[in-house]
Symmetry: C2
Subunit: 201 residues, 2 copies
Amino acid sequence: MQPRHFGLAVPPATGLCSQRTNDIILGMTEDGVKEKTQSNVYKAFIGEAKAYFRLLAYAEKAEEEEMPQIAHLFRAIAEAERVHATRHMGLMKEIVVKDTDTNLELSFQREKSISENAYPNFLSDAEQEGETTAALAFSQARDAESYHAKLYERAIMNLLKNKVKAYHVCQVCGYVTDKKQPAKCPVCGAPKEKFKSIAGE
Amino acid sequence: MQPRHFGLAVPPATGLCSQRTNDIILGMTEDGVKEKTQSNVYKAFIGEAKAYFRLLAYAEKAEEEEMPQIAHLFRAIAEAERVHATRHMGLMKEIVVKDTDTNLELSFQREKSISENAYPNFLSDAEQEGETTAALAFSQARDAESYHAKLYERAIMNLLKNKVKAYHVCQVCGYVTDKKQPAKCPVCGAPKEKFKSIAGE
């Protein structure tokens, strides 16, 4: 299976960019979806995805302010926005759920591609532009994705099947490990309090 | 507070669309972030958001295939991609977490705006283009968002504070209720088995 590019990073032909209209014949995009609708599905996906992540951040804030019921409301509506985002992604033909072995292989290839190509390029641009905050975010994301690739690789090699462990996810940089929770994140240096454990079934 | 547009639906000036370069002076965007980096942050957000929703779909598939450990791995890495997406959104200045009362008000205004403006426009385009699958998704999302607005409105009126209830979220159309779980979704007609209950603390 060939490595795939960071896929969804570049917007599809949306009609917003006139230089892309050469790709479109009689208002029909290459996916066979009419142009305006393809653009709208993409916009709707972005809006729902942002709503989802924003509502989870609002829920955390509500918890800090000791308003558990409002936190709960934000989480429930976030879940609904996840349903919408996933449905719109299906219309964009971006979610193609195959068998699990294939999904693992695709996930491994995507992580390799974004840690070896997309994020290093983003990092280089940020460094050239002197955008140090973005550079740090890209650099740490690149390193975290490279650890994700290793976890997928081990799963593909059947080392994980039928063993249920806890995963520890750094809430600053997205590093994930299935080993003992580290005292300090090896990617960003965050202390152990910044880790969230995702327990198995 | 003024209603806000579907905010994140329209990509920011990214350099992909030449007609937007008039907005950009000396490679600096209106947010004060250099142009290439702003575009890269946006692309990185989209890539991470899509990875997040895709991995959750892969986790469900792995569960169906009775591979709980792989499902668990997909969920843990999804959580890491959520961390990345949220961090990139912060760089886009899209997550501005204020106090909970303000967050509720903003969420109410956003839901009103997307159910009364964005989705009706998307629906009208889809109907004109004969895209019936997208039209149904937009129509049901519009109705679900309008129910979300009502839930926020009640929260703002203090009817929810300090009462912990279960919310029921339709996994087909994103309808949410804090009442008894309906036998059939009032928006899309899905049976009660399609509801996910989000329990309080």
